[in-house]
Structure formats: structure tokens, C-alpha cells
Subunit: 337 residues, 2 copies
DNA sequence: TGGTATATTGAAAGCGCATTCAAGCAGAAA
DNA sequence: TTTCTGCTTGAATGCGCTTTCAATATACCA
């Protein structure tokens, strides 16, 4: 904020241009000169002004991370925070790549202004968007931007956006296959909203696993949660009221699984003896519930890292990357199944 | 990134200076002209270039948030994330104040470079530093910066830095008073490291409450955790081995409380019948443990908001603010006490 | 009506850096 | 020695915006 490139130039008895070359590691500077300049820079603790540099180069080294903020949504479905954890990993990945991270939690009404100020204002080089709910009105605004953008979490409405997601499908297949192998024969599922990528993919995996093992799909065993009409507990109660209740349930998320667990216990049934449960996410609570939950762990860290790397590749004009990448999940067997 | 102020000027048939005035709401522009310029801006969707603006004004509207990253520390003591949650609230507060947030999770070896690039490079106007551990080598580097800085979490080594913290002392007093009122007579405590502000303050509160009610302080009932030498379980075991074990324990954190809970149960004792427990933080796990934990909730949201507001005041040259502010905690009674 | 005070406006000079272009230089080739 | 080539360097320009400073237009007063 204080000392400028020009002063460095004077101190090192060279032109500003040469100092600039040294800073940016241009090859054509004599080693002696380079060393001399570097010494001066080191000595006075000079750091080039970010704004000036951005103005000249038209790039900022900042990447934006937008977590669409739906107050209700976040509190209800993400109490401990997938996106929260994700942003930590993204932040770390940025540091490791010498990029800066601008984090925004914006509500729909702030999205337009955000887009104008940040994106059009040239504040950031690229954008990572966390995809919460499908119909989020923030998305069209952000995804319409001209700067490279990566979405975390598949959104079927925007198939042409570069996207990183967990392999929800395979994770679900594995979970349901596990239940089959443990001898369960009447396997139900309570899905997330099927309007979303995660909900759809996990639901597809459930069906696939059943079909693959010669089961028939029984629509009565599939209940979709739909807040606020059909909550997790509602869904579980519905399953228990069937003439022949299921002997296992694959849940769309650990939070729903925990709710289901409570309902089952209230009904006087035991987990896993009467009904086996498998969740999804490996939420921190899953490991400490009673009984601990068998679940499918999302590769949050990998997703964050990969999202950053992909964005950097896009910034590098590398268009050879696939539009969609599903990162492998990890199956965690505990005592609920 | 595309259309400039100059072009707006042309389109509106005024000088660039006037457009600038309109953008920055300077008073001395005729209303007609102002409206005309605004119309053009709106129509073409112009947004001023952030870098150019920063270069000219020497301010960025970005505030930096640094979460010192000690890999081990975070995983062990902050699994669900005080800082993680805090940063969400800080991000939201920034949005609300039309500021941008640059989030950095830096490890000690990245701190020097960070300081140079970001702070000296004029990337940010002010800094919020999350204070993890006291001896964090990142702190002296950051806190030595010339830009306004706010620390979240008291650090006794840097008493002159503006700081926001939870009122750990009063929270602890309340917790221990509660135990006394429930008839407990031999109240122990397992403290966080007493090298840190939170550990110290909660420990002081414990003593204060006892003294206030005519108890004497029994050193045998105070165990300080010191990773890796004295873990939470170690500390609890030590208390149980006393000739007369305590009938209540005030824990430095919910995570330690959960560990203690397990140890107590393994010893065949019951909570709260044999030993009452009160934790601190209101960690998400506290509400769902068996039994649910009585605890002291940290005002994370308020801390984040207040930190941002304080920083903005400092940026505004308002030096009338107190150096230290302790935000009230909330006592949450559950079944462990 | 003339004159002064005030409200509006524009021209121009940076802000600190990157980069183009041309000049300077040393060494290689002739 | 001369000429040509390739490597180093510096001068100058511009990135897009803000901000004096001076000029003009408008208002007000007598």
C-alpha cells in the first residue's frame, strides 16, 4: 500500500519495466540484474499492488464461491453443513494453488446485485456455485455469466454447466446391494426431493440395485419427501402403516435416517433387527446415533479440491474436461444394517 | 469487463467525471443529468470495474477472514466447526453490509506469503482473524499488519488487538451455579488448555461461582487437558480415581463432555444420577447425545455479525469502540445435569 | 441591468502496474 | 574489422476509474 514498483526500480537502478519482468518471472532478464532487484524487493518488503496489477492484466487471481442461501433450507436440511464443509476444502485448495477465495452467501434478492458487482465488475476470474435446491432463482443469474463457472452438485436443469458431484448413483447401488446381501427382501426408500440431482440419482441407484438382483420395484415402497407436506417422519410412518412393512429402508440422507430411526423406535420396532437402515452423506451425527448409522460417505474434500482444479483448468482455456464428473463415495458399514 | 465508464459518458452525452459522480452519488449533479446517466447505465447493464476503482480510491470493499489452519487441531477439537459456522455468519454479515469477504484458511507456512500478498498488496481493507490456538505462529504476522484488524476469540498474548469473544466467564459462572443449585457439592472441572483465552475464562468462571457460594477450591478437582499428554478421557479417568470422586463436572467443551460421558458410563456410573455434567459450546452433538447435554451456547451468529460491524467501524475511523467485547452466552438445560 | 456567489460540468492528471516497441548491446559469423 | 543476430533494457502508453481545478452556467442581490 505504500512502496511502489517505481521506487524499487530506482533503488535497484533499473527501469520499472525490468522490475515488472522480475516480479513476473520473465525469462529475458540477466541473472545479475534479477538478483539485484530481488534483493531490493526482499529488503524493503515490497508487494505489488493487487488493484493495479488486476487493472493491467485483467485478471484478479480471485475465484468466487457462491453458496445460495435459503435460510430455511439450510437450517432444516443442512444443519451441520455440507456446503459449510465444502467451502473449507475449497478455501484450502485455493490457498494451495495461490488463488484467493471470495465467499458469498447470497439470498435470492441479493443475486442480481452480486452478479453485477462481482462478476461484471471483474472482481473474480471464475466462479464456483454450490447447488442447493434446483429451483434456486440465484442459479440462472449466476450460471448465465460469461466467466468460467463450476457447479458443485448436479442440477438437471443446467446440464451444460461444468459440474462436480458425488457419485450418488453408485453410492445408492452399493447401499441397497448391501441390504440385499444381508438378506433383506422388502427394501423401501425414502427419497430426497426428486426435483434435485442428488435425490434423482440416489433414487435411480436404488432401483438399479433392486432390478440387478431380480427384485421388482414396488411403488408402495418408495416415498418421496416433500417439505413441508411430506416430512421425513411422515414418510417413515407411511411405510410402517403398509400391510407388510419393509424390513429395510434406504434413506435419502442421514438426517432423514435419524428421523426415521426415531419413528421406528417409537413404533416399538428395533433397528436393525426389525428394520435395517442405510443413510447417505456420513453426517457427523451418523457415527454417534444409537445405533450408529450405516451410510454412504460423500467425498466432500475431493469435491472441493476437484472443483477448484477444474475451474483453474477452465481458466487456463483447457476445454478438454468433461462437463460432469462424479466422484466416488465410500460405503461405511455401522450397526444400523 | 467490457463496457467502460467512458462509453457510458458518450452514450449519455456527459463527461466521464459526471458519470463517476452519478455512480458515487455525489450531490452536485443536476437531477435530469443524473437520471439520464442512470438510465443509460441500467440499459446497458454497466458495472464499474472493481480493480480500476480500487486503484483510484485505494480501497477494495473486501475484508479478509483468516482462519488459522492447524490440520490436527481442527479435526480434533473443532470437528463440526466453530470457525466454520462463524465464517458463514461473517459472510452473511458482509453481504448485508455490501462488503465482500475473502476467506483464507492458511497454514503457518503460508502466513508470511499471505501477509505480503494480501495485506501489503492492498487486497483487503480490513482483517478478521479467528483465534484458534494461542501460540499460532500466524497471529504475530497478521496482527502486526497496519490495516484494521479484529480478532474473534480472546488471546491473552495480544491484549491490544480489537477482539470479540463469547462471555466465557459468565457462561461458566452460570453453568457451575446451576450445578450448585441442583445440590451438587463436589464439583470438578476439566478445562481446555489454560494457555488460551477460552480455557482461562471458563476456568475463572468455575472458580468464581464456587467461591461465591462459599465453596473452597479443591485443586484435585481441577484437571487441565493438555493434548496429547492429558486427553479428555484421561482427565475424566483421573477424576474418577479420586478417593472421593466428584458428583458433578463442568467441562471445558462439549466434545470433552462427550468423551467424559463415555468414560463415566464405562465405569458403570450414571449421568446425571451419579455425576452431573455440563458442557460448553452447544455443539450439535450435545443435543442428541444420551443423555442430551446441558451446556452453554456460544453466540456464534452474534459474534460474526459483531466482528464485521466492529471492523466496519474501525474502517470508518471510529476509534471509540472498546478493545474487547464479550457477547452473552445462553444456558441450555438438558438432561445431563 | 451589472455583478457576485453558487451550482454544475469538463479537462486533465494521476492511481501502480504490464506490455509493446524500439534502442542498445554483446557475441557470432564473415 | 564489419555486419548480422539475439539477448537485455528503457521509454512510453494504457488499463478504467476518481478527483482536483478551472471553467461555465445559473442564481441571487442590489
Amino acid at each position: 500500500m505504500d512502496i511502489t514498483l517505481e521506487q524499487i526500480a530506482k533503488l535497484a537502478s533499473v527501469s520499472p519495466a525490468t522490475v515488472s519482468r522480475v516480479i513476473n518471472n520473465h525469462p529475458n532478464v540477466r541473472q545479475v540484474v534479477r538478483d539485484r532487484v530481488r534483493a531490493v524487493i526482499e529488503q524493503v518488503g515490497y508487494a505489488p499492488n493487487a488493484a493495479a496489477r488486476s487493472l493491467a492484466t485483467k485478471q484478479t487471481n480471485i475465484i468466487g464461491l457462491v453458496i445460495p442461501q435459503e435460510p430455511e433450507q439450510n437450517i432444516k436440511n443442512d444443519p451441520i453443513g455440507f456446503f459449510t464443509t465444502l467451502s473449507q476444502h475449497i478455501a484450502r485448495a485455493c490457498s494451495d494453488h495461490n488463488k484467493y477465495l471470495m465467499l458469498s452467501m447470497i439470498t435470492p434478492d441479493q443475486s442480481t446485485q452480486f452478479y453485477r458487482d462481482i462478476v461484471r465488475g471483474g472482481h473474480i476470474d471464475g466462479l464456483i456455485v454450490g447447488c442447493g435446491t434446483m429451483e434456486d432463482p440465484v442459479l440462472p443469474v449466476l450460471l448465465g455469466s460469461k466467466i468460467p463457472t463450476v457447479m458443485v452438485g448436479r442440477n438437471p436443469y443446467y446440464p451444460d454447466v461444468y459440474c462436480i458431484d458425488a457419485d450418488n448413483f453408485s453410492g445408492a447401488v452399493q447401499a441397497v446391494t448391501h441390504l440385499i446381501e444381508r438378506g433383506r427382501r422388502r427394501i423401501a426408500t425414502i427419497t430426497l426431493s426428486l426435483g434435485g440431482g442428488a435425490g434423482l440419482d440416489r433414487h435411480s441407484g436404488y432401483k438399479r440395485a433392486l432390478l440387478q438382483h431380480g427384485f421388482t420395484i414396488d411403488p408402495a415402497l418408495i416415498v418421496e419427501t416433500r417439505y413441508p407436506d411430506v416430512s421425513g417422519p411422515d414418510a417413515m410412518r407411511r411405510l410402517l402403516q403398509l400391510a407388510t412393512p419393509p424390513d429395510a429402508v434406504f434413506l435419502g440422507s442421514d438426517m432423514i435416517a435419524l428421523e426415521a430411526l426415531a419413528v421406528i423406535r417409537d413404533a416399538g420396532l428395533r433397528v436393525p433387527e426389525d428394520i435395517a437402515l442405510v443413510g447417505f452423506d456420513d453426517h457427523p451425527l451418523a457415527a454417534v446415533s444409537t445405533p450408529p448409522l450405516t451410510t454412504v460417505r460423500q467425498p466432500v474434500a475431493a469435491m472441493g479440491r476437484r472443483a477448484v482444479e477444474l475451474l483453474l483448468q477452465l481458466l487456463d482455456e483447457d476445454t478438454s474436461q468433461p462437463r460432469f464428473m462424479a466422484l466416488p463415495t465410500e460405503f461405511v458399514v455401522r450397526q444400523s444394517s
